[in-house]
Amino acid sequence: MTILDNSPPGDTDASSIDEPVGKAGDKIFFGLSFGAAALILVTLAAVAIFLFLEGLPIFTSDTAELDGDGSFVSYVGPLVFGTIYISVIALVLATPVAIAVALYVSHYAPRKLAQSLGSFIDLLAAIPSVVYGLWGITVLAPVMARSVFPWLRENLGFIPLFGSDVPIAQSGRSTLTVGVVLAVMILPIITAISREVFIQTPRLHEEASIALGATRWEMIRQAVIPYGRSGVISGAMLGLGRALGETMAVAIILSPAKGYFWDVLTAQNSNSIAANIALQFPESSGLEVNRLIATGLVLFVITFGVNAIARRIANAGFSGADG
């Protein structure tokens, strides 16, 4: 804009509205962002197609050469069971602790302590899973075998989870140990997401509760938890997704066997799909490889389903809570 411009009317300078403003930047940015978004879908599709095509032969070829009765379902069944069983144990152990930690950080701890505690929890997420695996087998497993397992067997043996004819694993390399290690691994993500939604509880709702004469805990129950419920559930589902796909920690710690095993204290445990692939792949050839890839497809479908459910719960919950 030139204010002291003496040019005759009709002289079109840069400020004319007839001329389109430079659009090149918009076009380039649109192209880049669209390309990035498309890349995600292409990658996802490529992985799904790979798993499907490479897994397909197990259903179409002659499976007589494989061990067992050759049926894919009887092969993958115990693995699906093991995967879900271990993950659910981890989830059940981790969620209450995560909620308690998140509430402490968001509503009880002094501000400085809350900040450092929050970053310590995030640090837990930065530890590689192979390190968790090593810690699990060298430190946790012996402790579990020595003190926790015998106590559970003796006092809670009437529950099928802790009681069977099989003796407890002296090495401690059982489903429960793996569950505890996975619980520690998924704790950060559940805590972080829960803390985030708890902090976002509108001050108005908290004050409504306090003004009615609620104690701190009553206020949390009345205003904070109902507001954060959907966030906690989606955090737990994300944690579950991570536990389902966890490979190294399970492969290192668990002593696997073929079949369905409910007892979490013995050396006979249903393996998880991911750990089974990691352990079997180096020694596999031919159709065995196809079979492993097909189990990978099953894991992909399970994880995909869990994430879809988590997303649905998160969306439904938030739109309802704002009202």
Binding site: L204, E207, A208, I210, A211, L212, G213, T215, Q222, A321
Partner: protein, 298 residues
Amino acid sequence: MNRSATRAPYFEASIPMTDSVRAPATAPNEPVDANAPVDLPNRIDIRDLDIYYGDFKAVEGVSMTINPRSVTALIGPSGCGKSTFLRSMNRMHEVIRGAYVDGEVIINGRNLYGPGVDPVAVRRKVGMVFQRPNPFPTMSIADNVLAGKKLNSKRMSKSVAAELVETSLRGANLWNEVKDRLDGPGSGLSGGQQQRLCIARAIAVEPDVLLMDEPCSALDPISTLAIEELMLELKNSYNIVIVTHNMQQAARVSDRTGFFNIEGTGKPGRLIEMDATEKIFSNPTEQQTQDYVTGRFG
């Protein structure tokens, strides 16, 4: 709602009221209504109250008597400490870290800031309605009304609960509008209805005093009128204190009005003048009050 004038004392272990508390030693603060006896329960005496947020002194040297069965309005420019002062009457300002007071707030002979007084117990006796309607979004209308009562008592029979929901909603002039959808979400109501739901929630716990912090500032004129009419009804049962930015509202609903002001930013708010509402708006003693109510500043 039948509430007798002589109700259970404020705290369970209440100190017998002494004459020094009862006696109207506040000559300039005489009640508007000549018929109102000064020793009714739920009278609030505030003595030389300073309110601090950490090092910052928000309110300084406020002394006043608030008579029961009346509406008392607090007016003043933004930031003059009137909301802080209101919140100090049920210790709600303490939700902010570092907040404390120096002075006394006495209701029914008990100093709210005396040693051993639990702020949670105070809030069960001094209810509050906020600037923006804040029903609990995940609860039904009926559950919202019962929210405070459920904190106080462990179990309620269904019939008792239903009766309480009805009396409270009737008390808040909301019953006829919501009686067919008590199980519906409270967030489905209009703003004015939500605010009346919040009032129903506050009176369901039968407080002695009802504090209202600009209860109509987020509402349209028709909803405002409904709330103002409600206040005039509620003052027969409760001691109502209202903070408002709307001087017409103060003139319409209140019996007495207190004017707060600050000398400048960073300075504490002070009570400039308190008198019968009529006098404040027609012939106030202080020049500042005159300037404010006639719209010369603020």
